[in-house]
């Protein structure tokens, strides 16, 4: 499936509310994430136009992840969704899915992106999951910013 462009998911604040925080729709992650199986709900936040967003848990242990559209760090990025993942995401023909790659900040200042196991979100069903495509050719640790020398 072709990954569509990532877009900020923060919804506008409600009119008239006094301490109105913008409502952020919770995306259900029925399986959590590997290592964070207890985090069953996340919101996707964008603080600026940098292209980076933040996937933050709203239940279970606090966990936040910087995420980025994988196509912005790898030309031609494309992965085939496994049938099991397509079913659990309730993705149907014609659904535009949101593909996000987790950003890792390393101790030496390097910044890498996980292209091997992207997070895929079905906006129509508000369901998300980190997938491990069977025939994914991309690396777990794709370095985008080299370590400071």
């Amino acid at each position: 499936m072709t990954p569509p462009s990532a877009s900020p998911a923060a919804t506008p604040g409600e009119m008239g509310g006094s301490a109105a925080e913008p409502r952020r729709e919770v995306i259900a992650f029925p399986k959590g994430l590997p290592g964070f199986e207890g985090c069953r709900g996340f919101v996707l936040l964008a603080s600026d136009d940098s292209g980076l967003q933040c996937l933050s848990s709203v239940d279970g242990p606090p966990a936040s992840f910087l995420v980025v559209d994988p196509r912005r760090v790898q030309v031609g990025y494309r992965c085939q969704l496994n049938e099991a993942d397509r079913l659990s995401l309730e993705a149907e023909e014609g659904d535009h899915l949101l593909w996000l790659a987790l950003v890792m900040i390393e101790g030496d200042g390097a910044v890498s992106v996980n292209l091997r196991a992207p997070v895929v979100i079905n906006p129509r069903r508000m369901i998300g999951q980190q997938v491990i495509p069977y025939h994914c050719i991309y690396p777990l640790r794709h370095v985008v910013v080299e370590a400071a020398s």
Partner: protein, 67 residues
């Protein structure tokens, strides 16, 4: 057979070991434990409990992003 529709097959027996295959219905994901463990470890390394230190990263990374 392990469970509903899940079957472990011996694909090849050689001097260096036995090669196993897993047959499962399409809706059942099959992954090697070591792959799942790698993803888990990468996620734990990627997890930010405090996003304050991510501002510098945003700038460095944003400058490298493709259009």
């Amino acid at each position: 057979m392990i469970g509903d529709g899940i079957e472990v097959r011996v694909l090849r027996i050689g001097r260096d070991g036995v090669r196993l295959g897993v047959v499962a219905p399409a809706h059942v994901p099959v992954h090697r434990q070591e792959v799942y463990a790698q993803i888990r470890d990468a996620n734990q390394a990627a997890c930010r409990v405090d996003l304050a230190d991510a501002d510098g990263v945003s700038g460095a990374l944003a400058g490298k992003l493709l259009p």
